[in-house]
Symmetry: C2
Subunit: 344 residues, 2 copies
């Protein structure tokens, strides 16, 4: 990265776009026309179209002192794919808009794009458009993702019934612990040259924070098993917050069992090291991008067999509220303590 | 605007979104599901899907010292609709993402949204999603517009033939002159309370800059007349720049005649007052959001009859280059001097 650096102004907007997108190829049959006209053009004759958008702001969503630009690009794309999977669909196209301040060079933006392109390649998504401009302060990334699903497979937040089982994929809290670790090392390294951060045995936490994956595999598994969840969301703000969204949209309550919440051992060790409450971290941490979904009660055996999926509780009638049942049987009301991007 | 002001943090992200989008209704049959889930959902069975996106940054694209927030919202939406019309399509949905710094209140964002909603109402577009977050400095607006067109009516930049006629709608240079006027009054008013800017007789210029319209009427007129242009763009960066885009994409040259470029008398008077070259302003001003398109030569009579459309020249073989033919018959090479958002 500290090799040859080219000023962006020397290329101009169209020169920069050519350099970033000149090698793009479209792989999806729904992508008719990509970068280079007033609009991208797509064709969706047999499926419904899903659209999701995210805005990432330097200093709010990411800190470039410890997030490499390539990782940032990868994550920015993947979190948008995750929103499409959360509807039980498949991402097909993205547009990428960037506002770039003067301290970034062409090589920096190429590094960011290399992460976006890698994510697109791995998930089979076409980059079809965007906008590139300058900013007065920092980097802003706006990604819109377009995906599709057959009408009868689309899953909303609002379809859960009050007897449904609640399932999650993967494990929770690791991305949050990764962030705590990165922030701690940032403080420890302040002002030190050649500082070597201590991540031994914590690689999983760092990876979950810096290079999250979207759960395409779960959407594919559900499809193979012939299961259409009754409701689904991805866990971006934290399990508590997402549970409450689904309960509100579906008009239900819920019971989630503390001893069933999937947690990786690195997450548990890190919580101990930092003297933090492990369950609080797993319930409210956010950025895990796992899938939270509900299925009818009679699917218990079927869904329990699926690799990487755990039943963590059940929906209830709305008057019972949303509670976490602790190991000793106490019912604790769930409150959304997820990340509030407008709080500070 | 200076009445009751509510801090955004007091509502939180979801409270703010509820307040801004609680009253939205979907009017397009293609809009199946709007705000409130991981994705918006759309259905496009018979038409192709068009997607365009724009990122607007405070201090780069707009100056809130003279742009009212409602106007800003209106313009931000309309310029995206314009990209869809530029493909000969119709805008149907938008997503709106905002990054908001602390100095903005709920009422400010409501004013911005009222402009976006007004534009949506007038143009028949549904607001179906977005993202809302904080920013460290200033306001950032990212809008993605989704539209559609029957496959055989979509117009690209690349379809012009070397004998086609070049047409533009409306008049050019007024938005640029409006900007000059607003900037001049901003300097004149610096530090003065109760300053009254002098806009008498220049209302059209101010309106073109602050409240541009997209040319839906032209797209509808062309459809009624049974004309599908061979190429089309909207004029956002300036006629020179857009002509060069079309010529490059279509593999042609062009001749445009100075005495045929449509210019409003207020634009001409203002250019004289500011001692600026009128044709330079009309060729390079930008932000007019008029449509530039080409039609086959044999449609000359047909297209000349359409209200608000003027034939300004013709395409040529590529080896003849892109030239403006001045009133005395001199051929001046056209250079793109349009706005470069990455130049400073």
């Amino acid at each position: 990265m500290e090799e040859k650096q080219t000023e962006i102004a020397s290329l101009g907007e169209f020169g920069l776009i050519d350099r970033l997108t000149g090698d793009l190829k479209l792989v999806n049959s729904s992508s008719l026309r990509g970068v280079g006209d007033d609009c991208a053009v797509m064709e969706y004759r047999d499926t419904d179209v899903l659209v999701s958008t995210d805005l990432l702001v330097e200093g709010v969503h990411f800190d470039l002192t410890y997030v490499p630009l390539k990782h940032l690009g990868y994550k920015a794309a993947v979190v948008n794919f995750s929103d499409i999977y959360a509807m039980n669909g498949h991402p097909r196209q993205i547009t990428v808009s960037l506002a770039i301040s003067k301290r970034f060079t062409v090589e920096h933006i190429e590094a960011l794009y290399s992460g976006i392109k890698l994510a697109c390649e791995i998930y089979g998504v076409d980059l079809v458009g965007g906008d590139t401009t300058s900013s007065r302060a920092g980097l802003v990334i706006s990604i819109t993702c377009i995906g599709d699903a057959p009408k009868d497979r689309i899953v909303y937040r609002s379809g859960a019934k009050d007897t449904d089982l609640i399932c999650v994929s993967g494990d929770l809290g690791a991305a949050y612990m990764g962030l705590q670790l990165l922030e701690r090392e940032k403080v420890a390294s302040a002002g030190q040259k050649d500082f070597q951060p201590m991540f031994d045995g914590k690689e999983y936490l760092i990876e979950r924070q810096l290079k999250p994956e979207a759960r395409r595999d779960i959407v594919e598994e559900l499809e193979k098993a012939g299961i259409v969840p009754t409701s689904m969301m991805d866990i971006s703000d934290g399990l508590s917050s997402e549970l409450m969204h689904i309960c509100k949209a579906s008009g239900t309550g819920c019971r989630v069992y503390e001893d069933r919440i999937p947690i990786d051992y690195q997450t548990a060790l890190m919580a101990e090291e930092l003297n933090m409450n492990l369950v609080t971290a797993a319930m409210n941490g956010g950025e895990d991008y796992e899938l939270l979904f509900t299925v009818p009660l009679h699917m218990h055996e079927q869904v329990s067999k699926l690799p990487g999926i755990k039943v963590i509780g059940n929906m209830t009638k709305p008057e019972l509220g949303c509670c976490l049942v602790t190991r000793d049987g106490t019912e604790m009301p769930i409150r959304a303590q997820g990340w509030n991007p407008l709080a500070d």
